[in-house]
Symmetry: C2
Subunit: 223 residues, 2 copies
């Protein structure tokens, strides 16, 4: 990093470090952390193979217990497979709503709103061209007590890499229930599902969410 | 990023993206992922307050269930507190070794090697000027089924930020047993201990660990 740009990005203090150095990556990286947001609707623009590879390559660099690297990244790009997931999730989301509506004698336009909203949410999540299912291998030497860390770590890494390349992601767990993911995308019991993230060009970046101040989250020396 | 430097860092393909753009952060960030390694011995050089703040500030940007941000980052810099942890961990590590040695009639220099090694390991981990205990709040609206993701995600973020600023980290779980951490650093039951990481200038960067090839970790369309 050039001194001028360091100062311009609030990293001027970094030059006071006695031993650590602020290299080219620091300012840009620190911005990426703040810029990654959960994206819930995507454009259909494709993600080039090389970008998918770079994103996954970041995931495999995460800290991992005893260097076991227990990950499997299942990449789904097949439009038919994505459409099947969308259809199945719409069924799951609308079933309880429809059951309730069927008990009503009169159904108003307003009564149908929750149904429309549920469908729109699913369609948003399932609008991306690429999905990565982050899995950990139950056959790993390190049990779940350890792999439970490795899974989210790799997911976090690859989502940051996606953001650095200009793509949106969202860390989905309940929004694609594990049982549905296993059924529709054939995930064997050998693997534990950590999360699923779409990767794609956002259909607009969402406004930043309000966040707690750092002071609320940090305790110095004692709690 | 200027086109010339993009090509130089293997990101030339990024320019083929139809909609995503490779900004200043991409190449630098993607390098940081690969450069972060587990560091097990540190120099005593201080970490400036501003760097600690920047590192923690990255942690709080991690994905989080329902925007709950259930984190608490306990920062320990008090030399006396660090020394007490070192002493306690040496006791824990040497106790079973000493019990075994006391049953022997003759104790050779070689018999003492495991004891020396255990002490050196603890001293390495406890040689940094700063420790961050990453905690999640059990009172969070989202239960452990969700906060179990949030914890490692924040830890991964802040460790990457530390690396971007030139510092080493290591994701410690069993090396500082949770019960010992609670006892020595007074961590209330309200918080779940995710991990502890030292932050400091490495006493030499360790050689890179062998890693699985990306191809071993990725499956396209089906497992």
């Amino acid at each position: 990093m050039r001194a001028a740009s360091a100062a311009g990005t609030g990293l001027a203090l970094a030059t006071q470090a006695t031993a650590a150095r602020t290299d080219d990556g620091a300012a840009a990286l620190l911005e990426i952390f703040a810029k990654r947001q959960s994206v819930r609707r995507y454009k259909s623009d494709p993600v080039p193979d090389e970008h998918v590879r770079m994103i996954l390559d970041a995931g495999r660099r995460a800290p991992t217990c005893m260097n076991q690297q227990p990950w499997k990244f299942l990449v789904i790009r097949d439009k038919e497979k994505i459409a099947r997931m969308r259809q199945r999730l719409i069924e799951v989301a609308t079933k309880p709503i429809d059951a309730k509506l069927q008990q009503q004698t009169n159904v108003s336009e307003q009564d149908l709103e929750p149904r429309k909203k549920a469908i729109a949410t699913v369609e948003g999540y399932l609008s991306a061209p690429v999905y990565v299912v982050v899995l950990t291998d139950n056959q790993c030497l390190c049990g779940l007590e350890y792999t439970k860390h490795d899974g989210p770590l790799a997911a976090g890494y690859l989502m940051l890499a996606a953001r650095a390349l200009g793509y949106g992601t969202v860390y989905l767990t309940d929004s694609i229930p594990e049982a549905v993911a296993r059924e529709v995308w054939n995930i064997p019991d050998r693997y534990r599902r950590v999360c699923i993230t779409p990767i794609g060009v956002p259909d607009g970046w969402p406004p930043p969410k309000p966040k707690k101040k750092l002071e609320e989250l940090v305790a110095y020396e004692s709690l």
